[in-house]
Symmetry: C2
Subunit: 331 residues, 2 copies
Amino acid sequence: MSADGPRLSEEGLIARHFAPLAGPGADGLRDDAASLTPTPGHDLVVTVDAVVAGVHYFPEDAPASVAVKALGVNLSDLAAKGAAPRGFLLTLALAPDWTEDWLAVFAQGLGAAAALHGCPLLGGDTVRAAGPTLISVTAFGEVPTGGIVRRHTARPGDVICVSGTIGDAALGLRLRREPEAAWARALRAEARAHLADRYLHPRPRLALAAAVRRFATAAMDVSDGLAGDLAKMLPGLTTTVESATVPLSEAAAAAIGREPDLLRTALTGGDDYEILCTVAPADLDAFRAAAAAAGVPLAPIGTVAAGEGAPVFRGPDGALHRFPRGSFSHF
Amino acid sequence: MSADGPRLSEEGLIARHFAPLAGPGADGLRDDAASLTPTPGHDLVVTVDAVVAGVHYFPEDAPASVAVKALGVNLSDLAAKGAAPRGFLLTLALAPDWTEDWLAVFAQGLGAAAALHGCPLLGGDTVRAAGPTLISVTAFGEVPTGGIVRRHTARPGDVICVSGTIGDAALGLRLRREPEAAWARALRAEARAHLADRYLHPRPRLALAAAVRRFATAAMDVSDGLAGDLAKMLPGLTTTVESATVPLSEAAAAAIGREPDLLRTALTGGDDYEILCTVAPADLDAFRAAAAAAGVPLAPIGTVAAGEGAPVFRGPDGALHRFPRGSFSHF
């Protein structure tokens, strides 16, 4: 009866490539909807973010890397809200030149990332788009009832902390765009590889979620650059950050050492997917201990202050820098 | 400090146009995630579907109509699973030529549809796409624990029912594409308006959800054409449908009366967004009474039979028709 032509039908593609990723409640992806119920005593936390070829990733990026990014940027949001992942939905809009090979490797990468983070596929929709490929992921997490950590709840006097290192992904993106720049050529191969990897592969800080939930007064993930995201986290409040306290990887420090203007890239670039949060000073030591126990580096970078005005960064030369909102935006 | 240029920032757009649509748990759309918890004793039902300009709607369609379609196709899935809506997430990928006027009217239409169905906005992501506008909606509903109605659980002997009327939207689409066809010109203005409206504006059958949950042994919504969706609902089973039992609107009947080949369009076209379901024969009268009480027309169109093979439709001339899978597909 059926004549699907040279390409599999949508159902055939789903059954072949995505059904193996399906979790409980997804009915093997054979239905139009999934069932999902939080653990008793828990709330669901829901978030959605899309990545677009040519905007959020390079069309030539490995499809498994694209999958890691599409899922990772969403799991990063869950981590910053203090949530543990439960599952995700996928909207895949495929460019006209898509191939089943691309899709197969994308699905494999997605499955590996989903398994790593305990976050199975619950459903999705596949459409064709007369434009670049777009991948929208809706991620579901859960927190104990009432436990979601909000973005705008910091108080004056709270200590501002950031996980991991800042600026690697933005420098990795610069490296992709200007591989022959003097600073890029001066880096060792492993430093270049580190920066390139941080741009390609977000590492959602899910290991820190429980500590964020326990100790943070406010939290968000750093996706649009530390400077801009700090401003977003502190409406009606402000802070002064000593740039020297912002944690840098060896690779980023080497790049900035060679080319000091790259500090601006590190502070305003995007795609860090680290957690930016605030804690009461009395909780700082316990929060740091919990982060250390979770294996996540954590650095205090300033203190929330009363007063309007975008956060100020004091550079190594003592000069104060403000960065306009939206200095980095995918939009 | 901020210099957003001639266009609002993403945050500005969200605050102006979408924050008024935000529901409980959405924190005014100022955070990266929302909190959502099913009513005690209930499961969440989650689904995602995208519409793309030039594929699922005409780029020149009124933005409020696009909004009604983007939300409606998802609420239709919830209704078919027996779920009551709780909220939704929105991914909006805007084509390069988007305008704030378009966005404003889209948001108004979305807000009106969301209010009509009691389904508030919980969050979203806005990106730009170097291609057609794409709108992906993740819809959340809830059912009493374990109550989700699945697609593939029909049994031989169950009666197949469909809500409302079939084929209007597909004929409305034909009307858009061939307004000067003889059959189109022969229709009265109100019939043309009815068909055009059914294509533009899905009417999710949420009023039928409770009855579906109570009585249906299997259910799905009709989005890709009755013939193809019936085949999808009955893997490993079959049925023979008397075409004369398929419910048609006056407008569709008039069109098919004028041009009999349009029956194929009605049976295989998409965008009906009616509910296709099966009930045990003993429950049929009660199901019909519940549907009548909910104000939703319901028609039995056949009986599930053991045996492989796509469903067969017997035409007015007595001839048997099978329609290949994928005879209609947006993909």
